[in-house]
């Protein structure tokens, strides 16, 4: 396995850790979600090109479509939370605890 895939996997892992370990803002988690999508996009493009498989060229674009929809829904939820609390701090989301 060429080293470039390891590099992009590392980018994915760093974005994943950024999503799971947050300080205060919900926005940073959404940004890391987009970071994960970006690293997956690059990896898919590399694989579609390196394996000389032109039929797979649609795959990164379709992935982009779904990730854009997800980002839109995430931002809509962020705005909903901002309407209630004024900020997007994650520790504000404590209404549903036991």
């Amino acid at each position: 396995m060429p080293i470039i895939y390891m590099n992009i996997t590392l980018a994915f892992i760093i974005s994943l850790l950024g999503m799971l370990i947050y300080r205060s803002h919900l926005m940073s988690s959404l940004l890391c979600l987009e970071g994960m999508m970006l690293s997956l996009f690059i990896m898919n493009t590399l694989m579609a090109l390196n394996m000389h498989f032109p039929l797979a060229n649609i795959m990164p674009i379709a992935l982009l479509v779904f990730a854009a929809c997800e980002a839109a829904v995430g931002l809509a939820l962020l705005i909903s939370i901002s309407n209630t609390y004024g900020l997007d701090h994650i520790h504000n989301l404590n209404l549903l605890q036991c």
């Binding site: 396995m1 996997t9 799971l20 919900l26 779904f66 209630t84």
Partner: protein, 347 residues
């Protein structure tokens, strides 16, 4: 919600699960999961209040992380055999990452913390869809990749799920949280036999969906969501109280009722594979589950909590809530055990 928007959203949710179940290409399965998640996040905010928004945000964050991890596993999977068809892949790393992503989607331990909170934040019917319909697509994917799943890790996660679901539900008075913890426990039971015989997982899923639907519809009929409200429901809908009690006993897995059948088959399959300690641990932990069901039965049918006098005499209004399939569901949750040889020929 606008009826046209509701039509589009519900059909997207159903279409997502159908696409996942009918696909053999990894990307299409992932796309179905995404459609399902995006539509369901909108369903969770059916009643717009801060709790629903919080529930939808937690659901969205959890499921989108799991989707991305699943996509990473799919992309890495393409590197090794170089093909996109969903077969059992012999590569252990990608199988592990896929299993972790699907376990995150299902809400098994150690990723179970979002389920009680999200189930609590939504009205009863979206909560029902969360605990029944949303489990279908990930389990169908796991059904297809079952030979390559690491046995030890999945059985450990299942046992931990049973423990977390049983112990977590003990201190709850909110009914939706109780049903969420019961869902975590049942997920643990379901995933135990996936590596041995995935048909049993599918069968347990079917019986679990029937029992949980019955319970949610009974609660929706009297629209009570806390134990306190349940204790005052005996004179609103008198006929429902014994039926709810029997449904709860069936969920606990007691013998003459249907809920005993999937647990019995699971234990039989595990002992066929010389695994004796696991079923013992599982049964003992599930007794805690039965304890909090019995507490609900005690409060509804066997005792009268101290209330003021005007709650004891209620004007009997006619029921206006839509309850589709209530009678067949109750019959299926209680009386299916004598027919078990017939049912098991199908699985």
């Amino acid at each position: 919600m606008n009826p046209l928007a509701q039509l589009v959203i519900y059909s997207t949710m159903i279409m997502g699960t159908l696409i996942t179940s009918l696909s053999s290409h990894w990307f299409l399965a992932w796309a179905g999961l995404e459609m399902n998640m995006l539509a369901f996040t909108s369903i969770l905010i059916k009643k717009a209040n801060p709790r629903s928004t919080e529930a939808a945000t937690k659901y969205f964050l959890m499921q989108s992380t799991a989707s991305m991890i699943l996509m990473m596993a799919i992309t890495l999977n393409n590197l090794f055999p170089g093909q996109w068809i969903m077969m059992n892949n012999p590569n252990q790393l990608t199988s592990l990452i896929m299993m972790v992503a699907l376990v995150m989607k299902l809400g098994m331990t150690p990723f179970h913390f979002w389920i009680p909170e999200v189930t609590q934040g939504t009205p009863l019917i979206p909560g029902l869809l969360l605990l029944t319909w949303q489990k279908l697509a990930p389990i169908l994917i796991m059904y297809q990749i079952y030979p390559s799943i690491n046995t030890n890790i999945l059985m450990t996660l299942s046992t931990l799920s049973i423990m977390a679901g049983s112990w977590g539900g003990l201190n709850q008075t909110q009914l939706r949280k109780i049903l969420a913890y019961s869902s975590i426990t049942h997920m643990g039971w379901m995933m135990m036999t996936l590596v041995y015989n995935p048909n049993i997982t599918a069968f347990y899923l079917l019986i679990y969906i029937i029992m949980t639907s019955t319970m949610f519809m009974a609660l929706n009929l009297s629209s009570n969501t806390t134990t306190l409200m349940l204790s005052r429901a005996w004179n609103k809908l008198t006929w429902l109280m014994p039926l709810m009690s029997v449904t709860l006993l069936s969920m606990g897995g007691l013998p003459p009722l249907t809920g005993f059948l999937p647990k019995w088959i699971t234990i039989q399959e595990l002992t066929k594979n010389n695994n004796f300690i696991m079923p013992s641990v599982m049964i003992i932990m599930t007794l805690l589950n039965l304890y909090f069901y019995l507490r609900l039965i005690y409060i509804t049918s066997m005792t009268l909590l101290p209330t003021s006098n005007n709650t004891k005499m209620k004007w009997q209004f006619e029921n206006t809530k839509p309850t589709p399939l209530m009678s067949p569901l109750i019959v299926l949750t209680t009386l299916l055990l004598p027919m078990s040889p017939t049912i098991l020929t199908m699985f």
